[in-house]
Symmetry: C2
Subunit: 130 residues, 2 copies
DNA sequence: CATTGACTTAGAGTGAACTTTAAGGTTTAT
DNA sequence: ATAAACCTTAAAGTTCACTCTAAGTCAATG
């Protein structure tokens, strides 16, 4: 069992964000200590890892909440979850390819600017010497 | 010269967004017709392409506005712009690598679910036959 | 020359994902 | 036993990047 503080350290999320995720039903079933403090189980930690994974590949919190709700319903939702992951995977791949194309453009622009910068610096030097 | 409508069609941005970008100083110097309508030049279109490129690789509008402001100041800012592009390029590469790692995790999860789904379906079939 | 549709502005509203605040209760170390 | 640190909740506030609204102007067509 982990306190919210330990979970923050492990995941990089803030306590505020963890509480927010609970409220938004991403991980709604976190246990409580006698004093009412959150206690995260190893299963919770695994779920959180999945949540971070989906979030960091651009899935919206709403969709993640849907996915986690399906997971809580058990094996009868395996197919639905498979389909979600497949679609998500495809959209991530597409976005990465798009990013790569845009990045190539940034690289070309950078190379162009670098050349112009060298020219400009030589020009400045020759102006100084005259 | 292009009307805002034509620019929308070429860039995929809405007229609202183009006006918003003007207000936010991403492309603040768009000309006007006698009647006050926006007229985008070929140079404006090139700048817009750069804006989209930076935006689609995750640069904030604020940073893009800074970059475009430097560009308007001329060659004396070449070095500053080079540095911005270099930094941006590096951060995009990092993000893409991170994305790839997360995507691999999604793929592994998907494969795991697929296997479990096949098992589950066979189980259901044998329950039906009994 | 009137109507339709696209354009103008300033400013308010939206949705996502937090982030902060206020007011208080709990744990831990001394 | 008490102070400091940490936790609780509900609700309001923030930031980003739009997106929409209202009230009016302009251009093209029959």
């Amino acid at each position: 069992m982990y306190t919210i503080r330990e979970v923050c350290e492990k995941t990089g999320l803030t306590a505020h964000t963890l509480r927010y995720y609970e409220k938004e039903k991403l991980l709604p079933s976190v246990g409580r200590s006698a004093g009412g403090f959150r206690q995260y189980s190893d299963e919770d930690m695994e779920k959180l890892a999945m949540i971070c994974c989906l979030k960091n590949t651009g899935m919206s919190l709403q969709e993640i909440a849907q996915f986690m709700a399906l997971a809580r319903e058990g094996d009868s939702t395996l197919q639905a979850r498979c389909e979600m992951l497949k679609k998500h995977r495809e959209s991530v791949l597409e976005r990465m390819e798009e990013m790569q194309r845009y990045l190539d453009k940034v690289t070309r622009k950078y190379d162009f600017y670098s050349k112009r910068l060298i020219e400009y610096e030589q020009q400045q030097k020759s102006l100084q010497n005259s």
